[in-house]
């Protein structure tokens, strides 16, 4: 049985549009009952966003859908993903209590620079997130 329990991988489409297998270490997941404790963008994405938007940002479609983040022009404005993460909208729950300002800005910058998105201008900052709470 233990053989089954290997480390986990997430597929990331990074800057030069090359698919990469990046191992995500989950050994430090589940560290706190009420907040996420991941620090880098890829880990934050993999531990919470990927639950709905899927591991490579492709989204999902059922009776309702989770929008794809790949090549998503809505990510052009930095404030848009920040606002959605803090406050939620429609099926998207508010994650403002699970993630702190630093984590939100980090994961927003990650999403805007990955999955075929190239929005590296107007980077999110913890201060900006704080001002939008």
């Amino acid at each position: 049985m233990k053989m089954l329990f290997t480390s986990m991988t997430v597929l990331l489409l990074s800057m030069p549009a090359i698919a990469q297998e990046v191992a995500i270490d989950t050994s430090n997941w589940f560290d706190d009952p009420s907040t996420l404790t991941q620090i880098d963008g890829a880990s934050i994405y993999a531990s919470v966003c990927a639950g709905c938007h899927m591991s490579n940002g492709q989204g999902a479609q059922g009776a309702g859908k989770y929008p794809a983040l790949t090549n998503n022009p809505n990510l052009m404005a930095t404030a848009y993903p920040i606002s959605l993460i803090i406050h939620g909208h429609k099926a998207m729950p508010s994650l403002g209590g699970l993630l702190d300002d630093e984590q939100i800005s980090t994961v927003v910058n990650f999403i805007r620079a990955n999955f075929g998105n190239h929005y590296t201008d107007n980077q999110a900052s913890a201060e900006l997130v704080k001002s939008m709470r």
């Binding site: 986990m8 907040t35 639950g51 429609k90 699970l98």
Partner: protein, 528 residues
């Protein structure tokens, strides 16, 4: 004490009713007076006099939708239901061996449980005051059995306390109660409580605390026969030569306080968990099947609603078949009861009022995660003498629930092996099914070391990945401000479902909201 104008107290009035008319009338009178009435179920509906050729369209064949269909059909309306899935029941759902489940993202699980074993990903227990659900079970012949919430032999576990060793509930409960009773008894006995307790009452309180806390004659909660009669013996009571028991060692108050074990001592005291509570024999979806037997012929399955429009005196839903695809079809009716979760409805092209649309758009659905794991044998019964009930832990799995059915049977059994909400559940959602089960095994094996040797099969449901609900239950952003408006007729549509209730996530909430919608709709129609 409240008096009516005739000067008869409530108690004396009830005494009179009881003496004259017997218990049934007394219960009825008590209910009318606001006692003994924890649900707002008002008894079975008996709607009559539906105008001829009045068509009602119901969106969603979960419990709310099927309740509405059953009552309206019985009243004489023409009823049709559109359902996205290929089966009825919605979140009243059970996974068994042979079932397959495809979550959002496309991952499919083929459930590999033995015959008779199952896992309820959604609702799993029915409080005894959820009268509406229980009454439909009775009417539809859905067999119920006790669900065991509190098991004194199950565990409380804190990975950071008692060397990570799970403690029996009976030990923690007895020790905590005993120490608290001792402290209070000493305060009362030695210093009195002045105004708070009269001298006469103080004596009675000390006597009560002695009994309540299993204190000795010195009002101490200590290792001895008094405490062991509650927390268990080190050497058990028996027969013959070896029959004399030896008391077990009590835990210190400090050790208990420095653990988190006290947090779940009152889990079974919560209003909705108080014994006796129930589950359907064979799986929660037996309730769904009971409803489906009644109204199944009214349901169009595999129908994905794509548009809702109110025009003139009619409401029209457009839908496409998720099976065959094909062109959009329409269903037009005089009125509509919409039970589609707002997480999904917010993404459907509709023409509800701006006010209703804003409420719909402001309700995401909660994250929750459950895993059911089948083991080759019932080691929790055979090795640890745990028969049903729930162990609680500070680990991310939150709890382990033992099957309250088929006890003492040989062969495999299924545990509810994880049921976290919040931050833990989000992380489980984001893992693949295989990785979720790996984590559940890693954590569960800290409580039951038999896990790895006895593993047989796992099932997992991350509610945010459930394709037809996108979450577990509706989260109000501002219920105080929005609730009443969400219950209002919008165009020719009434909303129903657990989200339109103050019993969120409970089946009773879904059913009560549907009964209320049906009554109001019938009144609207017949008084028009």
């Amino acid at each position: 004490m409240s008096f009516n104008p005739e000067g008869v107290t409530r108690r004396s009035f009830l005494g009179m009713v009881g003496a004259v008319a017997g218990a049934a009338a007394m219960y009825s009178a008590m209910s009318t007076m606001g006692f003994a009435s924890p649900s707002n179920w008002r008894g079975r509906l008996n709607l009559q006099g539906a105008p001829d050729n009045t068509n009602i369209l119901i969106l969603g064949a979960g419990l709310a939708g099927m309740t509405a269909a059953f009552e309206l059909r019985n009243a004489g309306y023409n009823v049709k239901i559109l359902e996205y899935r290929d089966k009825a029941g919605g979140r009243c759902w059970t996974l068994r061996g042979g079932d397959s489940y495809t979550e959002l993202g496309g991952s499919t699980q083929h459930i590999d449980f033995a015959e008779g074993n199952y896992f309820n990903p959604g609702p799993w227990r029915i409080p005894s005051d959820h009268f509406a659900v229980l009454d439909y079970c009775k009417r539809f012949g859905v067999k119920l059995e006790p669900f065991i919430q509190v098991n004194y032999n199950a565990y409380l576990h804190d990975s950071e306390a008692f060397n990570g060793q799970p403690q029996r509930f009976k030990e923690v409960a007895s020790d905590f109660r005993g120490h608290v009773a001792e402290l209070l008894a000493k305060v009362v006995d030695q210093t009195g409580l002045d105004q708070a307790v009269s001298t006469a009452d103080a004596e009675k309180l000390v006597a009560a605390l002695k009994r309540y806390g299993a204190l000795n004659d010195n009002l101490e909660y200590v290792t001895g026969s008094e405490s062991s009669k509650f927390r268990g013996w080190a050497h058990p009571e028996g027969g013959g030569v070896d029959g004399k028991p030896e008391p077990s060692q009590v835990n210190s108050l400090s050790d208990l306080l420095n653990s988190t074990l006290w947090r779940n001592l009152t889990a079974g005291d919560n209003l909705h968990m108080q014994s006796t509570i129930f589950q359907p024999v064979g799986g929660m979806d037996m309730i769904a099947k009971g409803f489906e037997e009644q109204v199944g012929e009214l349901i169009t399955y595999n129908a994905q609603v794509t548009r809702i429009r109110h025009e003139g005196d009619q409401v029209t839903a457009s839908w496409v078949s998720t099976n065959s695809g094909g062109s959009e079809q329409t269903e037009t009716a005089d009125y509509c009861i919409c039970t589609i979760p707002f997480s999904v409805l917010s993404q459907i092209d509709h023409d509800f009022s701006p006010r209703m649309s804003k409420i719909i758009d402001s309700m995401p659905y909660a994250s929750a995660f459950k895993a059911g794991i089948e083991f080759k044998r019932r080691f929790w019964e055979e090795d640890e003498y745990i028969y049903g009930g729930i162990s609680y832990t500070n680990l991310p799995i939150t709890l382990i629930s033992y099957p309250p059915y088929d006890m003492f049977s040989d062969g495999p059994g299924v545990l509810l092996a994880a049921y976290p909400w919040g931050a833990y559940s989000y992380q489980f959602n984001a893992l693949s099914h295989e990785d979720r089960i790996a984590k559940v095994m890693e954590y569960g094996s800290q409580i039951h070391p038999q896990y790895y040797d006895e593993f047989k099969a796992g099932a997992s449901v991350a509610w945010h990945r459930v394709p037809w609900s996108l979450g577990c239950y509706g989260l109000w952003k501002d219920r105080e401000a929005d609730y009443q408006d969400a219950t209002a007729m919008d165009g020719r549509t009434l909303m129903a479902g657990e989200h339109i209730s103050y019993l969120p996530a409970w089946m009773e909430g879904a059913v009560l909201s549907a009964l209320d919608a049906v009554e109001r709709l019938h009144t609207t129609i017949t008084e028009a």
